[in-house]
Symmetry: C2
Subunit: 190 residues, 2 copies
């Protein structure tokens, strides 16, 4: 189980664990392989889990009635991805999560997350920190969406996540930023 080392490092970036604590939490995570272009989550599915990316890159997206695609989030190594508004209520979602490369992820169900935190209360600290960082990142994104020009939005994303630009297409960057592909091409040519 090579992923055990990855998982322990991922958690210990936030909170140190004893060997015993780590052995308690490890079984809550299930390894899942997803091939490039496959869906990890389909629209309309009841959402009961979130996923930690060990290897690969994915996108969470939705479409409008005209088939226009909106990318809500990307996820690369050490990022978590799910349809969170559906997960929190364990209801049907309207978001798809698709692998953009061959991926290896760890699945953690919402139910198991609760049990694991009760068994090893330090994990409340871990999940609390993750949620807080996610909240702060989304506040920045909302502000950028409201206030910034297409150019500023693009530059902010490039500054925050340079690695992402090596792994996803410009069309997807445009679908994430909410700008047209043409606008993005104009910006990146300069």
């Amino acid at each position: 189980m090579e992923y055990a080392i990855f998982l322990r490092q991922h958690i210990e970036d936030i909170v140190a664990l004893t060997d015993e604590e780590f052995q308690t939490i490890l079984p809550y995570y299930s390894p899942v392989e997803v091939n490039k272009k496959e869906l990890l989550i389909e629209a309309g599915q009841i959402i009961t889990s979130e996923f930690l990316v060990v290897k690969g890159c994915l996108k969470a997206f939705t479409e409008d009635e005209l088939g226009k695609e909106y990318i809500i989030q990307f996820a690369m190594e050490n990022w978590w991805i799910s349809d969170y508004p559906a997960l929190v209520k364990e209801t049907k979602g309207n978001v798809c999560v698709q692998a953009l490369e061959d991926c290896f992820v760890l699945e953690l169900s919402f139910e198991d997350r609760k049990k694991m935190c009760e068994a090893v209360p330090k994990m409340y600290i871990f999940h609390g920190e993750k949620a807080f960082s996610g909240y702060v990142a989304l506040q920045k994104r909302v502000l950028s969406m409201m206030k910034n020009s297409a150019k500023e939005k693009y530059e902010l994303l490039l500054h925050q996540y340079p690695a992402l630009f090596q792994r996803v297409s410009k069309t997807m960057i445009a679908q994430y930023l909410g700008v047209s592909r043409e606008t993005l091409s104009r910006l990146t040519k300069k």
Copy 2:
């Protein structure tokens, strides 16, 4: 200290506390009164605290170079407000928080939040839940900002927070939704 009852209820909506635990956490919160129109946080200030609204209504906003205002969040009773991207790094922010009514809030410093959680670890659960709910709410907002028409954005906000519409002006609703005042007037006349 009438606010003690409010605070205990606010926390116990998420996690039950013993009397002793509550007496331990209470001193970490400092009551602050802010008059209508006064600033609780000024742009450029180093941000070290967040605020729980006991009474009143506030907005967090920023302006662009042309003086156009963007509202990042509102806060009413039982909501928390701060410049979170600045708070998390305890650096200077560029967001103002202004009272829209005479307000009574409880200040919790980031430093004290850590100490309090160490003293009463149940508070990790409380803050983790709050952050997670905030994260989920912002995911919904990002999706709505990207995908929805002005009309849909307006209706979603009205559905989620009907009380807000009694307490803030239409201009502010427009500044929060990122639509023009004229568009909003058109929608609300129908």
